[in-house]
Subunit: 403 residues, 2 copies
């Protein structure tokens, strides 16, 4: 399968530890080989030797736009519809307040109660400040029925972070648009692994994360997408000087920069941002469709191998993700009563996944650098751990650290 | 003077280009020597080899607290009163909304109309969302008279970014407290160069920038300070998962982390944050008083040398900063009709300052790495440029790039 994989060569663009099976690229993407030399130059030469002059000379000032263009290509948006700045949480806040302002007179924000926690928390705060009622649905599938003439905005993740299940973007967007509402998609688990095309689905708004399948590095800047038709009505709640039409006029009056550039607030964290620029070069020339196809193949192979384990070896382990790859992100979650112990025992065997409370062992299959052989080895080691009972080790009875 | 300087040895903790006179540490601090090797290890080993495990193993998760402790020492706050996260702009937004919530029933935010633009823009947005009227004063000195029983909050910069003039922190704080209001200080041009002691002045709230005199690197994270007595009432408008009491519980309900830790929103930009941690080690063992004393001596020497230029050489150049060092930050601004050309011509002579519209040539005197000999050389070159007319070069007739 690896021999037939058209993306097999991409792995050489990454620096991966020997012997490690890294199934956690949905938490922190692997290190692209281009990053270390670039960042050494940024620190030693651009910052150290050229100092403030690098904002012009080294084109630091235009870096957010370059990174935005690379992200835009992967999510089916135009470069001038994407802003790279701040964290996903902060971007979601901006977009929810801005989205509410695009629909004055409407009073409801609809979100998924089981969405990633930061989305729910930020949604609650943004709703309060924007004067919206926050209405929760128990699953994205319930959203269309919940949308009505009072709905200003629907905000949801494309991929469920626990199970990898995909929301029905088309159905939800159509229901929202029929009612005159807007939709904001959180693409944190989509970009770089799936092929959602924001233009094709007539998306309004989106946000996402730089450090998962985009491999931007720990805490890499996030992004926000605003469809061009909404630019004129785009009013950010965080109007910082970097988002001003002419930052160095130092005007006491705020005048927004053109389009999404106004979503910049303060000075971007350049070391993290320029690392992300290098990182994205690892996906140059790779289509979202090719990434999606391989992600589907990797996850399907994983499900198939887990299903093929004899019942005695599999024990109580069940697949918690959709079995239809069309309904699944680049992720498979396995349910097990001792999921925490399983994940910890696997880490000791150099298979890195993560635990999501209360009972999920979560495995991400980054299509840019994983091999089908890794999937085979991972399932072999999972079965071996379950056989040997390493997941019941008393050391794992208490959860510790970042899990 | 350099021989007698007790801080002279600090310069060895920085990597500075040979022959450059860098008077722009108030825009972007110089590179501390500790950063490049640390960041190479963060990228190559912690991210590249250890990947997600570094959140625990390499103590990434507790890095914001370590950086906060280093900042706190320099501003007279306790470590658990400072949060390091996001940009200064975003932190100011959080603190203004949070401050307004600490004074319910009051309707006014007072700011300085000539404050740094991002402060004014963010202040306008925060006031609108918090339901406050924004009242501008033309100078910090007018603030005490403007404060009344309706004042919720006064927010100002400690150091005027144009002239370096200091606000009277004691008078403004006392006036605010007498009326039951709170004050938020922007310390972007203070920390690392001055010795403002937030406890001594009974400060309520503060924000600041990591990349000026703290040398944290381009776009380094900012910080926010909340006095302990206000922690119970601290409600952030950006409640992200990193500021949750138990982020990995993944609870649908937001429960704020203890104290200022709740001011974290999304995942911090770790490459920028860990660079900042290394940077701050360059100030280990150095007291804010020693930094302030040297900054005053450097700026006084600069003013003295400019004043001593024969009138024919000085031309129309005037000192725009207060002449009393007790009323001045680590900065001297010179007013000149061709200030832009002067700054550009000086840059070509390897004297780096910056231009602030319409007519200020601004020079920052970072006490950690500047020598008195640099001050002498800078004024010699300024006089030489004015003598030769390089500042009137037609190339400088049009302003270009980041200025």
């Amino acid at each position: 399968m690896d021999d037939a994989d058209p993306l097999a060569g991409l792995r050489d663009r990454f620096t991966l530890p020997d012997g490690l099976i890294y199934l956690d690229g949905n938490s922190l993407g692997a290190l692209p080989a281009a990053v270390a030399p670039r960042l050494a130059g940024v620190v030693g030469h651009e910052w150290g030797q050229r100092l403030i002059r690098s904002w012009n000379e080294a084109a630091w000032f235009t870096a957010p736009g370059r990174v935005a263009a690379a992200v835009a290509r992967l999510i089916g948006a135009d470069a001038d519809e994407v802003a790279v700045a701040d964290s996903t949480s902060v971007n979601l806040f901006k977009i929810l307040i801005a989205g509410a302002r695009m629909r004055p007179g409407r009073g409801t924000l609809i979100m998924h109660a089981g969405d990633f926690p930061t989305d729910v928390y930020i949604g609650s705060s943004a709703a309060e400040l924007a004067g919206l009622r926050l209405r929760f649905v128990d699953s994205p599938a319930q959203a269309p029925a919940a949308i009505d003439d009072d709905t200003a905005l629907v905000a949801m993740s494309h991929v469920d972070f626990r199970t990898g299940e995909l929301a029905d973007v088309t159905a939800i967007t159509e229901a929202a648009h029929s009612a005159g509402a807007l939709v904001c998609w959180d693409l944190s688990h989509s970009a770089g692994a799936l092929d959602l095309d924001l233009h094709a689905v007539a998306a309004d708004l989106a946000v996402g994360c730089g450090y998962k399948y985009l491999n931007g590095g720990p805490g890499a800047p996030g992004y926000a997408m605003v469809a061009r038709r909404h630019h004129d009505a785009l009013i950010t709640p965080l109007p910082g000087w970097i988002g001003h039409a002419d930052p160095f006029a130092m005007s006491p009056r705020y005048a927004p920069a053109a389009g999404v550039a106004r979503l910049a607030a303060g000075t971007p964290p350049m070391l993290s941002l320029l690392a992300m620029e290098s990182s994205l070069s690892a996906l140059d020339g790779v289509s979202p469709q090719a990434l999606r196809t391989k992600a589907a193949a990797l996850t399907s192979y994983f499900v198939e191998l887990v299903d093929a384990l004899p019942a005695a070896r599999r024990g109580e382990l069940t697949v918690a993700s959709p079995r239809d790859p069309a309904r699944r992100g680049a992720q498979v979650s396995l349910r097990h009563e001792q999921a925490y112990g399983l994940v910890r025992a696997l880490i000791e065997r150099e298979v890195i996944g993560d635990f999501r409370t209360p009972d999920l062992a979560r495995f991400g299959f980054a299509p840019a650098y994983l091999r089908f052989a890794d999937v085979w080895d991972a399932v072999t080691i999972i079965a071996d751990v379950l056989d040997g009972g390493a997941h019941r080790d008393p050391r794992f009875a208490v959860r510790a650290g970042v899990t």
